[in-house]
């Protein structure tokens, strides 16, 4: 009984239909939350006493940075499940994650750089978080490159899954080493990226934005997952019925 949900998650038609049913719910709640957070962040929140109006960039930088890591973790978990239980749907989910994660990592890098310019006076600072973000971007590129280089879907799924798992083991090590390296070289006077103390009217838009982006990710994932399932199940009989209906 307790494991039936897990087995059903392994069934492509079940997941396909579930994804179709859930997509509107996640999309609309994400849209509402993000719009509310935008209003809260740009209008209601008072300026920061140190960073002035510039701190409002945190409402886009923090969520994109959060997405970059969360999507990678999700991708690696899905990949591991796919490897261990030979679950096609899990591989499809991992494949769906990569482009989403890569694009948000790119956004986190750009917003980080924009955030950094007025604070540091340069467009790029070898700040540990930005550096880690850059490496994460390369990890995504490598993952997508490997996937794209292998023609057979099944082999591409399984090979890139090994890479995702290896990568997720490495991410904390990379982050630690980069922080360690940075602490050796950084002059203490340089201000670190965005840690204004947030409270009340400044905090809730951030939390709302984080939640909104997370829901947005789920919605995007569900749509892409359906596309990936369609590509993997093209010979299955359930699909013929599904399309006929």
């Amino acid at each position: 009984m307790t494991w039936t949900w897990f087995h059903r998650l392994g069934s492509p038609p079940h997941v396909y239909r579930l994804a179709r049913r859930l997509t509107p719910w996640f999309s609309w709640s994400a849209a509402v939350l993000i719009l509310a957070a935008l209003y809260g962040g740009l209008v209601l929140a008072p300026p920061d006493y140190q960073q002035g109006e510039g701190f409002r960039m945190i409402y886009v930088h923090a969520p994109t940075a959060w997405m970059s890591l969360m999507v990678y973790t999700t991708m690696a978990c899905a990949a591991a499940v796919g490897l261990v239980w030979r679950m096609k749907v899990a591989h499809a989910a991992a494949a769906a994650c990569a482009p989403i994660g890569a694009s948000f990592t790119f956004a986190a890098l750009v917003t980080g750089s924009l955030y950094g310019e007025p604070m540091w006076g340069t467009w790029w600072e070898w700040d540990p978080r930005l550096t880690s973000e850059l490496i994460l971007f390369f990890l995504y590129l490598g993952y997508m490159g490997l996937r794209g280089a292998i023609e057979d879907t099944q082999r591409a799924d399984r090979t890139s899954a090994v890479l995702a798992v290896v990568g997720v083991v490495n991410v904390p090590i990379i982050h630690y080493s980069v922080t360690w390296w940075n602490s050796l070289h950084q002059a203490p006077s340089v201000m670190r990226l965005g840690k204004p103390t947030l409270a009340g009217a400044m905090l809730w838009p951030l939390l709302t934005m984080l939640l909104g982006f997370t829901l947005l990710f789920v919605a995007l994932l569900l749509v892409r997952l359906r596309a990936e399932i369609l590509a993997r199940e093209r010979n299955a009989s359930w699909l013929q019925e599904e399309l006929a209906a």
Partner: protein, 248 residues
């Protein structure tokens, strides 16, 4: 029908035809054979052994030409130069780590040998280290001297490269296994391997830098050692998994 040889097989499966399990090769002996085979093959093509070393020497030579011949200035970047050159040289030989074995069917035989593939992958990685990492560590002090490092730095540089290249070979073996069966995989291999190698670069370059300055390298060397140990435990698992997938 003669029943004798396989009578014991139903139970154990592993028992060989003459009925004695002792005939099977133990894992360590099998791994030693893999190592021996790779070393023998490498020495049959001695010319190729020199190539990563020559590459390393040329890359380190580029920096004085590109920056300045002043030893005082070079000394400041020497550790970084050594490590970037070592990283690239180690990467250069990786593409061929599994390639020939994949083409001639040796990998298939490894996967079907009944031996744990993880152990065999470890042996292959060890061979790669003995053929590239160790020689690199041995000639790196010479390169360091030419970049203005004091002779007192030699033990530290040697130690940091010897330990660090172990981790590099292990990480590289994963990349090499993942890119098996992909045509023109060189750039992809670099794209996969280099980001994962960054911690090794950071700790290794720091250790060499401290050695050049005449300070204690214990802290970064311990971190490098930790990376190598982590690599020894996990990397062969990942490359064995990747090799099996490449055979599918």
């Amino acid at each position: 029908m003669a029943e004798l040889p396989h009578a014991a097989l139903t139970a154990a499966g592993r028992v060989e035809a003459d009925g004695s399990a002792a005939q099977g090769t133990p894992v360590l002996a099998a791994a030693r054979l893999v190592l021996e085979r790779d070393l023998t093959l490498a020495f049959r093509r001695r010319g190729q052994l020199i190539q990563p070393l020559a590459f390393f020497a040329i890359v380190t030579m580029l920096f004085p030409l590109a920056i300045s011949p002043e030893l005082a200035r070079l000394r400041e970047v020497a550790a970084g130069v050594l490590w970037v050159a070592a990283l690239l040289a180690s990467l250069l030989a990786l593409e061929f780590l599994f390639r020939d074995d994949a083409y001639d069917g040796t990998l298939e035989q490894y996967a079907l040998s009944g031996q744990p593939l993880t152990g065999l992958m470890f042996a292959k990685t060890a061979a790669h280290w003995l053929l590239t990492g160790l020689p690199l560590a041995l000639i790196a002090p010479l390169a360091a001297l030419s970049l203005g490092a004091p002779p007192g730095a030699i033990p530290g540089i040697l130690a940091s490269l010897a330990v660090g290249t172990v981790a590099l070979s292990l990480i590289g073996s994963i990349g090499a296994a993942l890119t098996l069966g992909i045509r023109r995989s060189g750039v992809l291999l670099a794209l996969l391997t280099l980001p994962l190698s960054l911690p090794v670069l950071i700790f290794g370059a720091r250790a060499s830098e401290l050695a050049i300055r005449g300070e204690s390298i214990v802290a970064p060397l311990e971190l490098l050692g930790a990376l190598a140990v982590l690599g020894i435990t996990l990397a062969p698992l990942a490359s064995a998994a990747a090799v099996r997938i490449s055979l599918e």
